[in-house]
């Protein structure tokens, strides 16, 4: 028994020692070869490093692309750089795109579009079964606004239905290339399911390179995913597209609370008066987040008439509604007796909130004056 255990342990020790030796040699090798400065050693080092380390390979390719973009460069096409068509090459291209100025970027786009061989490689990689490759090549298309791949990117969105990463990068490519028709076709397709978070979708819209108003107008006329509609409504507000306010109006009565809130915020920020009555009603909504958004919007649309509503909302049971009501009241001009009136309400929480907002703005006002 003892002998058997001892033998097993001895074998295990040999295995462990071997693993340790391999780890140690790899670690030292990775590190030692970075030390050498000799030219020949440098080349060998680079080859070994490129084999061992993806980062080194990308770094080498990045250097080659930068060289190619120099006016006096002796490298004239992508195919002169071995490995450029690989995933590493694509990452290196993406890095150069980030670092390059507009002129260099245009030159790179020109080189890529002129090089049939590379375009073929891209097309091949975009259709591969490797999500990693598809993702990196799609990213390059987005960054360089490369035309001609819209259909493949569109197909990939259907092919990789469950991959949030591919969905995000493919949509980013379509948004950055301003592919309105493709986006509309996609978002109106009942087969297509968005698997991104709302914030990701919202961010994608900010990268759209075409006419935002036109895109929003068309998307709001369709039966789209709630995230798409919310993004359009938010976009109308952030980009100040007041002419599209009527499109946001119906959503004040949506069944989706988030849609109501977004439309309140948008219509409030654009001071859209036809929405006033409905927004005022929403200050009594059963959901506190709707009341909270309505308070701010109300003060923005109708600063002259909202005072009694804001005082009422200052006594709301929800902390955030009181907070936004106090913030709105604090910005209303022409109410020098505000604190006395709040005090007269007899609501301790309303008074505390109003006092806090006053004190806070005084601190920052003083600092601004100083």
């Amino acid at each position: 028994m003892h002998q058997m255990i001892q033998s097993i342990v001895d074998v295990l020790i040999i295995i462990m020692a071997s693993i340790l030796a391999i780890f140690t040699v790899t670690l030292i090798l990775l590190h030692l070869i970075t030390l050498s400065n000799n030219k020949r050693m440098e080349r060998i080092k680079q080859r070994i490093l490129r084999m061992l380390s993806a980062a080194q390979d990308i770094e080498y390719l990045r250097g080659r692309i930068h060289d190619m973009l120099r006016p006096d460069s002796e490298i004239h096409s992508l195919r002169e750089t071995r490995g450029i068509q690989s995933g590493h090459g694509t990452i290196a291209l993406s890095m150069v795109v980030k670092e390059a100025g507009p002129e260099q970027k245009d030159r790179l786009r020109e080189i890529i579009l002129k090089d049939g061989w590379y375009l073929q490689q891209m097309s091949h990689n975009l259709q591969s079964h490797n999500d990693d490759r598809v993702g990196t090549f799609t990213k390059l298309i987005a960054e360089l606004h490369l035309p001609g791949f819209e259909d493949t990117v569109y197909d990939n969105l259907h092919r990789w239905k469950e991959s949030a990463e591919i969905q995000e990068i493919s949509l980013l490519a379509l948004f950055m290339c301003g592919e309105k028709d493709k986006l509309i076709s996609l978002f109106s397709d009942p087969e297509f399911r968005l698997i991104l978070s709302f914030r990701q979708v919202l961010e994608l819209f900010s990268y759209y390179s075409g006419d935002h108003a036109e895109l929003y107008r068309e998307l709001l006329g369709l039966e789209c995913d709630g995230y798409i509609i919310r993004s359009c409504i938010r976009g109308i507000g952030t980009e100040g597209l007041a002419e599209l306010c009527p499109l946001a109006m119906p959503y004040l009565d949506s069944d989706n609370i988030n849609l109501i809130i977004d439309s309140i915020r948008t219509l409030g920020s654009l001071r859209y008066e036809p929405a006033l009555v409905r927004i005022r009603e929403h200050t009594r909504h059963e959901v506190w987040s709707v009341r909270s958004a309505a308070v701010t919007a109300l003060a923005a649309i109708s600063p002259d008439t909202c005072y009694p509503d804001l005082l009422r909302c200052l006594c709301d049971k929800a902390w955030w509604v009181r907070f936004h009501a106090a913030e709105a009241l604090n910005t209303l001009p022409g109410h020098p007796e505000l604190m006395d009136e709040v005090s007269a309400l007899g609501d301790r929480y309303a008074f505390e909130m109003m006092r806090y907002i006053r004190e806070r703005s005084e601190i920052f006002e003083k600092e601004a004056v100083a």
């Binding site: 295990l12 462990m16 004190e359």
Partner: protein, 475 residues
């Protein structure tokens, strides 16, 4: 009787050996799992780019909570560091938990604090808040002054005062890299079911720190600090990533973690007077989410870095490790109903049993082995070959694990690019197994014996300013 004693000692020897072999195998599986997890993470960074969101209005706004108790040595540098991070909308809330030193006064002077009557929701019970201050120069800095109630209580007070849906807890003796917040919060942005995310903790000692910012990364000179550097690398780059990959992460370090505020409130917040409040909260979140049958993820990301200041002497190290182990025991005891319980999925059936067997009882087996194997050799019960084998296995697995962690570091983040640094780390990775690791095991056993007596006591660890740890360089 002698025959029985002999058989008993042999049994302990075999059990200890078996334990060491088993734990080596488990740690090796963790290492492989971590390598896969790291590879996956690095690949995902290729085309999902968090940097697009750093200053975007669409990024989740966050509250950074810094509990501070007698942190005069580091609090100003720490707060300054937090106020200079690359992130759009965030607030920094420092909670002075009844410090007896000059923590509050230093903050007041450095950031021109003005007392303000701020109403806040008392979602979680805490010790009374005495005052709230806002900075006149940094609109996003809030300082809460409250009666002493411990770290968990301070964090609960911070949660009550916070404005945003996600909070990040940071220790007052830590510093964040500029992009750390964005990286950690990005996890919430892309995954609405994300409940909590932990970042990696690295040792700041030896680095050059200017105005609360890490300027140059280097290793410390003191052996106790280098040993901890290796230990942290091993713990985070193999252990945490391994558990994350296996979807059963149980610890998010209190020094740097991000949480969904409402879900933490729903779970009851941090447990006051609980020493291992960080682990306890994560276990509580697992429990609450599984009980309510809600889909959720708890993640560890190896990229968002928090630099911390570890104990620089063995006396403080002992206090810290005993505290950590008491925290672990406390959490396991509080949630013993979850262990071996299939209702809690793999957390209940694999992860918690692992912690019970290998983290709680394991140190006893290990110490028993360290004692009985040499004794039985002296008494002639076992031979020299067996004794050497036992220690060889124990030492080799430790070195393999540490070297594996170094390899992962070298392959991915390369924070220590100089050959001298890597050789030094390698040397200490080996040295770690000749005394330091065993010492930590002894601390754990001591902690287990003193659990009942010390489970509510914090103890105090000496604090040093960040500058005292840095090397003399002209910057």
């Amino acid at each position: 009787m002698t025959g029985f004693l002999r058989a008993f000692i042999i049994l302990i020897n075999y059990l200890s050996l078996f334990y060491v072999l088993l734990i080596s195998t488990i740690y090796f599986i963790q290492l492989v799992s971590a390598a896969l997890g790291l590879g996956e993470y690095s690949r995902s960074l290729k085309y999902t780019d968090y940097s697009r969101f750093v200053f975007s209005d669409n990024m989740v706004p966050i509250s950074v909570l810094v509990p501070a108790y007698n942190e005069a040595a580091t609090i100003v540098d720490n707060t300054r560091n937090l106020l200079s991070l690359d992130f759009g909308q965030y607030e920094v809330i420092v909670i002075n938990d009844g410090s007896k030193d000059e923590t509050l006064e230093l903050l007041r002077d450095a950031f021109r604090l003005i007392k303000i009557n701020q109403p806040f929701k008392r979602s979680l019970e805490t010790q009374p808040v005495m005052a709230i201050y806002r900075s006149a120069v940094h609109p996003n800095l809030v300082v809460v002054d409250k009666e002493n109630g411990g770290k968990a209580d301070a964090l609960n007070a911070g949660i009550n005062v916070s404005m945003y849906p996600v909070f990040v807890s940071i220790d007052a003796d830590s510093l964040l890299e500029k992009t750390s917040l964005a990286k950690i919060v990005y996890a919430f942005m892309i995954d609405p079911s994300c409940v909590a995310v932990g970042g990696i903790i690295r040792i700041a000692s030896g680095c050059e720190i200017v105005d609360g910012e890490i300027k140059e990364i280097d290793l410390p000179d003191k052996p106790v600090l280098v040993l901890q550097t290796i230990e942290y690398l091993r713990a985070f780059l193999t252990g945490r990533i391994g558990f994350h990959k296996m979807k059963m992460l149980l610890i998010i370090s209190g020094a740097f973690g991000a949480f969904n505020k409402q879900l933490v409130i729903d779970a009851g917040g941090y447990t006051s007077r609980c020493i291992g409040e960080d682990m306890e909260l994560v276990v509580k979140l697992h429990k609450s989410m599984m009980k309510n049958k809600r889909a959720y993820t708890i993640k560890f990301l190896p990229d968002p870095v928090c630099w911390t200041q570890p104990p620089d002497n063995f006396r403080d190290l002992k206090k810290q490790r005993k505290r950590w182990h008491i925290g672990l025991i406390d959490t396991l005891m509080k949630h013993r109903d979850m262990a071996f319980n299939p209702a809690y999925g793999r957390v209940g059936t694999v992860c918690l049993p692992y912690f019970w067997i290998f983290e709680l009882f394991g140190p006893f087996f290990e110490v028993a082995g360290y004692l009985t194997v040499p004794i039985s050799f002296i008494l002639g019960i076992t031979n020299l070959h067996f004794m050497i084998s036992f220690f060889a296995v124990a030492v080799l697995y430790g070195i393999i694990l540490s070297t594996g962690a170094l390899l992962l570091e070298e392959k991915t983040f390369r924070k220590y690019p100089k050959i001298g640094q890597i050789l030094k780390l390698y040397f200490y990775a080996a040295l770690d197994n000749f005394g330091y690791r065993q010492l930590n095991t002894v601390y754990k056993v001591e902690a287990a014996f003193g659990y009942r007596k010390n489970k509510s006591s914090w103890g105090s660890i000496g604090r040093r300013g960040f500058v005292s740890d840095t090397k003399n360089r002209t910057s």
